[in-house]
Amino acid sequence: MTVIEVEDLSKSYGDTRAVDGVTFAVKRGETFGVLGHNGAGKTTTVECLVGLRRPDRGRVRVLGEDPARRRRAVARRMGVQLQEGELPDRMRVAEAMRVFATLYDRPGDWREVMERWDLGHLGGKAYGDLSGGQKQRLKLALALVGGPELVVLDELTTGLDPVARRETWTLIGDLKASGTTVVLVSHFMDEAEELCDRVAVFRRGRIAALGTPRELTGRTGTGSLEEAYLALAEERR
């Protein structure tokens, strides 16, 4: 079953074509990587998926709904972690978890999500006093507190130290195992190679390549997704 369908998506800001005719689909339970340089159109594509932007052209369906028209219907079943998007500095960790849980119809147990993301001991700490890595973990936990069928994670492990990164990968693995569909926007090719079933490499608003990490390395005759990415993202036609 298809969870995300994007057909010929285009979005411009003034004269700049941020996304230019992008087509892809994500199946239920799949972990899908959205890769590309800064300005390649990743964030705009994600913003169209989560209903923050209305496409100029093309068709977007997320969980069977048009996110631009039925943002809240989609949001009920989707968890989002944005690259930007802070919390009030004086809001405490447990408070944020509890408040976000109340925004959903059938939230998971927020205490359990907090524990799983190693935030249990930080419950009384104010957001403004958290380290970068702790903030990142909280943002991830908040994306999952609503018990989503689909999670969209923008820059999953940015700001995390290597140990926390590995731990996060394990948790994303658990999420995959539970059947949750994951869209992962990333700069890190090792991460995409480890976690993603398929990846789309964005280049200047278009998808330059789409396939499993193995297919892309095979197609480019390279040894790793990192090398394949460099070949695909830099390639001029």
Binding site: V50, L52, R72, A75, M78, V80, G85, E86, T102, L103
Partner: protein, 232 residues
């Protein structure tokens, strides 16, 4: 309803944790009251303090909070949850109203119980005047939040609008004490209507005209805020 309760509760706790709001909306008015407690006509001062509390919260704090939420993309983050924008805004308003009420009850309580001010003559009218004055201040606050490009500017404009207004409108000090021209300026300020409605309801005869005028300002301000407000 659950989302509204938890969001407004959380906003209220954030206000209480902010030393600035706590001081200016609760301690400062009570302090002014104590400083003026020697005065014979405290029942003129007290309703003004209620208006002042609402102006500080609605015209200064509210736009600063909204400006910060917009700049730090808190609003954007919430836009990816199922919460409706209306719940978000009413939650914000409810928190302000409870905070204002807390300040008002303390000032009013101290005045009546501590300094022998006569209790409100028209409690129902006073309650209505309080709520309408509050909504008026929030409408002004949202207009400021809408036109200010950044969090800092929202805060600054809020202070620049609020401070002269609480003095010229007779909230911080009764207008009777102002010189002719300054007093005249007060005639045209929205907050003056709030002070009048609160004063008339506390000790006097509430006039329907004042209430209608305040309602008019609320409608105008809300329409303006809706037309101008940007989530990002």
């Amino acid at each position: 309803m659950r989302a509204f309760r938890s969001l407004s509760g959380s906003e209220l706790r954030l206000l209480f944790r902010d030393p600035g709001s706590l001081f200016f909306m609760v301690a400062f008015p009570a302090m002014l009251l104590v400083l003026n407690s020697g005065s014979d006509d405290l029942e003129i001062f007290v309703p003004g303090y209620l208006a002042m509390i609402l102006a500080i919260g609605g015209i200064a704090t509210l736009p600063a909070v909204m400006g910060t939420y917009r700049e730090r993309k808190v609003l954007r983050r919430l836009a990816t949850t199922p919460v409706s924008p209306l719940v978000l805004l009413t939650g914000q308003i409810a928190a302000q109203l409870v905070m204002g009420l807390a300040g008002a009850v303390i000032v009013g309580g101290v005045a009546v119980l501590g300094f022998g001010v006569a209790p409100p003559a028209h409690p129902a009218a006073l309650a209505l005047a309080f709520v309408l004055s509050a909504l008026m201040c929030y409408a002004i606050g949202f207009v400021i939040a809408a036109v200010a490009p950044r969090a800092r500017t929202a805060e600054l404009i809020g202070l620049l609008v609020m401070f002269p207004m609480i003095f010229l409108a007779g909230a911080a000090i009764p207008r009777e004490g102002l010189a002719g021209e300054l007093r005249e300026m007060g005639e045209y300020l929205p907050l003056t209507q709030a002070v009048t409605a609160l004063r008339d309801s506390w000790a006097g005869t509430p006039s329907i005209t004042t209430f209608l005028l305040i309602s008019g300002i609320i409608i105008l301000g809300t329409a303006l805020a809706v037309a101008l407000f940007r989530w990002e």
